[in-house]
């Protein structure tokens, strides 16, 4: 290493990998992963979130899991929680929908209203 720029490079790169251990400021994606969720295909949904976030270099978004939310018929269910704590619940998720949520909601802050629990309940 010959310069501070190189040091800074390593710092940034590694921080992205391990920031979850210190900062808790980013957005959070919470995937319902109880038995019902997994049966309904929650796992591919989560993988899709992880991959999409990775391709877009969105390292400060946390992906976590939770147990059964109690509306098994709407599984897979995903909550997206923004930095202010506002929660949007998406239902009947698929890997394609997951990629859309990343692109529209997480990147651009536009909620995908047609995928939310509210829209599903109206049907």
């Amino acid at each position: 290493m010959k310069s501070i720029a190189e040091l800074e490079e390593i710092r940034k790169k590694t921080l992205e990998e391990i920031s979850m251990r210190k900062n808790k400021n980013g957005m959070r994606v919470v995937v319902g992963m109880a038995t019902c969720g997994i049966a309904a295909g929650a796992r591919p949904v989560m993988t899709a979130f992880l991959e999409e976030l990775k391709t877009r270099n969105l390292h400060d978004v946390q992906v976590t899991m939770t147990g059964c939310i109690g509306v098994c018929r709407l599984e897979p269910i995903v909550d997206v929680i923004d930095t202010d704590g506002n929660k949007v619940t998406y239902v009947k998720m698929t890997p394609e929908k997951a990629r859309r949520v990343v692109a529209e909601h997480i990147v651009n802050g536009r909620i995908c209203h047609d995928l939310t629990i509210g829209a599903a309940e109206k049907e």
Binding site: R11, T14, R21, K22, V31, L53, H59, T64, M65
Partner: protein, 599 residues
């Protein structure tokens, strides 16, 4: 680069390695493999969290859930419930498991709430064998800053302004020490680190070296720049194999990155670092003995002055600081002296790491702001005394220190208050004692340690401490004589005045301080041949109360020396006092509480 949705940190410090965290790791890796989670969940080996007695410690991020005493059998549940379903396994959480609001994350565990982690900032958070993780949390940024933005004098000024004092025991202002070393001219100068840690029960330096070795390396390079040295030595005891291994790895990685060696970060500054292993003699922690040992000579103290800053290694100006002192340096450089000096008390700035042990619920490593009271340490952080017993005193400063009695439990802890109470900060050992502790016996224990560790170079220490120990032995064996207490005091005064090095000069402290606060206990031993705490075996006896004894014979069967006589169902049993070795086993075994201890 792979994004992981969860990081599982497993402690691989000395404590958790002893409780077999390696097996927990291999089980974790196996389970993650089976469940095909290896691309989502990353396992990281970290250093000490400070809760070593509850090890192995496992922390799962992003939640920050802290699990304690995790056995390999518990791993499937953590993987299945937490990592697969996102449900925290409550029964394994550290801290008060019965409480309604179960402590979910590291920050919420009572043990950590009152702590402020500066020296331990990375311990248990990063993988100490990966320099990138250290760099990620601003590692080597302070070195980069001093090399490019500060003159050596600026660095020294910043450290002076911060008010940092040596954490190795003496509490000497660090900035002033750096200034002395910078001002003295020499063909070559050295920067050394004291990682000898000889105080029995202390392990904060070990934990820093195991959990965050780069913080010390970076600080030593900064010190080298400040005083004009290009060579450093870390003197670490060979009994710390994990610390030695991690230091070796860290030094290698720093060299590979060009953060040690020649022309560091392209600035033209050179600094190299080597390890020296010590055999673990307590006296080798004394600075002149330590330097002699690095030179390859016998680890014996020499008179000062000249101080090492003037004449140290091979007669050249040498800076010596303690591990924890160094660990504070990079943060001070980055956050500034003003920030650092806003923490702590008037004359003791920053934090201090203590290894809290003895009669306390949460033993372990705690880092607290200077000025925290002993009460907070014992009750808020330490979780109180086991078995609802009463707090009697805390010993700080190890074999060189003294005790703080319960009447001073609200004293804010800093260098000066401890000295005023007749104890001292020392390196950070803190032993909590409850009402069942005999203070004469405690003083005897520490003196026995110093007598063993005295290097024998000067008579006051070699002979004087032995005389004191003989008297203490006599007193605890119930053979104390009138005038013994005064003899102890006289000897203590003379040794303190005449001993050559700090070991001898401070050896009488545990005796003097227990005499100061618990003189009546000494007197009870000497005059009434009574040990009020019921510890000294020569002065206690066990008796079976005839009217309570149901003649069941349980005690007789459990007595290891056959001291209890009687026949079942034929009247009360009796203890043969000549045979009894006072082990107390019968008291615990008697189903009818018929046996009592007389003090």
């Amino acid at each position: 680069m792979q994004i992981y949705r969860a990081h599982v940190l497993v402690c691989t410090g000395t404590g958790c390695t002893a409780s077999d965290s390696e097996r927990v790791i291999s089980e974790l890796e196996k389970q993650l493999q089976e469940k095909q989670l290896t691309n989502e969940v990353k396992v990281i080996k970290t250093g000490c969290f400070g809760l070593c007695h509850q090890g192995p410690i496992v922390v799962v991020y992003p939640e920050g859930a802290m699990y304690s005493t995790v056995k390999p059998e518990d791993v499937p549940e953590i993987v299945e419930e937490h990592l697969l379903k996102g449900r925290i396994v409550k029964r394994l959480l550290a801290g008060d498991k019965t409480a309604e609001d179960v402590a979910k994350s590291v920050e919420n565990v009572g043990f950590f709430k009152r702590q402020k982690r500066i020296a331990l900032r990375n311990c248990g958070i990063i993988n100490p064998e990966n320099i990138d993780e250290y760099i990620a949390f601003d590692g080597y940024k302070a070195l980069a800053k001093v090399l490019t933005e500060m003159k050596p004098a600026d660095v020294i000024n910043e450290i002076k302004k911060s008010g940092l004092r040596g954490r190795g025991g003496g509490g000497f202002p660090t900035g002033m020490k750096w200034e002395f070393a910078a001002r003295t001219t020499g063909d070559k100068k050295y920067v050394c680190c004291n990682a000898d840690e000889g105080d029995p029960g202390a392990f904060m330096d070990r934990s820093i070296l195991e959990g965050d070795p780069h913080s010390v390396i970076e600080a030593m390079a900064i010190a080298g720049y400040a005083i004009g040295a290009d060579q450093g030595y870390i003197y670490v005891r060979a009994e710390y194999p994990i610390a030695v291994k991690r230091l070796r790895i860290a030094i290698d990685q720093a060299k590979k990155y060009g953060l040690l060696g020649n022309n560091i970060l392209g600035t033209g500054f050179n600094f190299d670092l080597e390890l020296r292993l010590g055999a673990g003699a307590f006296v080798c922690g004394e600075e002149t003995a330590l330097l002699a040992s690095i030179e390859g000579r016998r680890g014996e103290p020499r008179p000062r002055p000249p101080f090492p800053a003037v004449k140290g290694l091979w007669g050249q100006p040498t800076l010596l600081n303690n591990v924890e002192t160094y660990a504070n340096i990079p943060v001070i450089i980055l956050k500034g002296a003003e920030w650092f000096s806003s923490i702590g008390t008037e004359k003791s700035k920053g934090t201090k790491v203590f290894a809290v042990g003895g009669k306390i619920n949460n033993t372990g490593l705690v880092e607290i702001p200077m000025g925290t009271t002993l009460r907070e340490v014992v009750y808020d952080i330490g979780g109180g005394i086991p078995g609802g017993k009463k707090f009697k005193a805390a010993q700080t400063g190890g074999p060189s220190g003294g005790c703080i009695p319960a009447s001073h439990i609200d004293t804010p802890i800093d260098y000066d208050t401890l000295t005023a109470l007749g104890s001292m900060m020392g390196s950070g050992g803190m032993i909590i004692m409850d009402e069942d502790t005999c203070m004469v016996d405690i003083a005897r224990f520490f003196l026995e340690f110093t007598v063993d560790e005295s290097c024998g170079k000067c008579p006051p220490c070699r002979i004087g401490t032995k005389r004191m120990l003989e008297i203490l032995n006599r007193i605890t064996e119930g053979k104390g004589e009138e005038g013994d207490i005064e003899k102890l005091e006289r000897l203590a005064k003379n040794i303190k005045a005449a001993a050559l090095c700090g070991l001898g000069q401070t050896a009488p402290n545990p005796v003097l301080s227990t005499l100061r606060y618990f003189r009546d206990e000494y007197e009870a031993h000497v005059r009434d041949k009574r040990c009020p705490a019921g510890v000294c075996k020569a002065m206690i006896s066990y008796m079976i109360q005839a009217d309570v004894c149901k003649s069941c014979g349980v005690c007789a069967r459990n007595c290891p020396v056959g001291a209890i006589e009687g026949e079942r169902k034929k009247g009360p049993f009796v203890i043969n006092q000549d045979k009894c070795i006072k082990c107390g086993a019968c008291v615990e075994k008697c189903p009818f509480n018929a046996i009592s201890k007389n003090v």
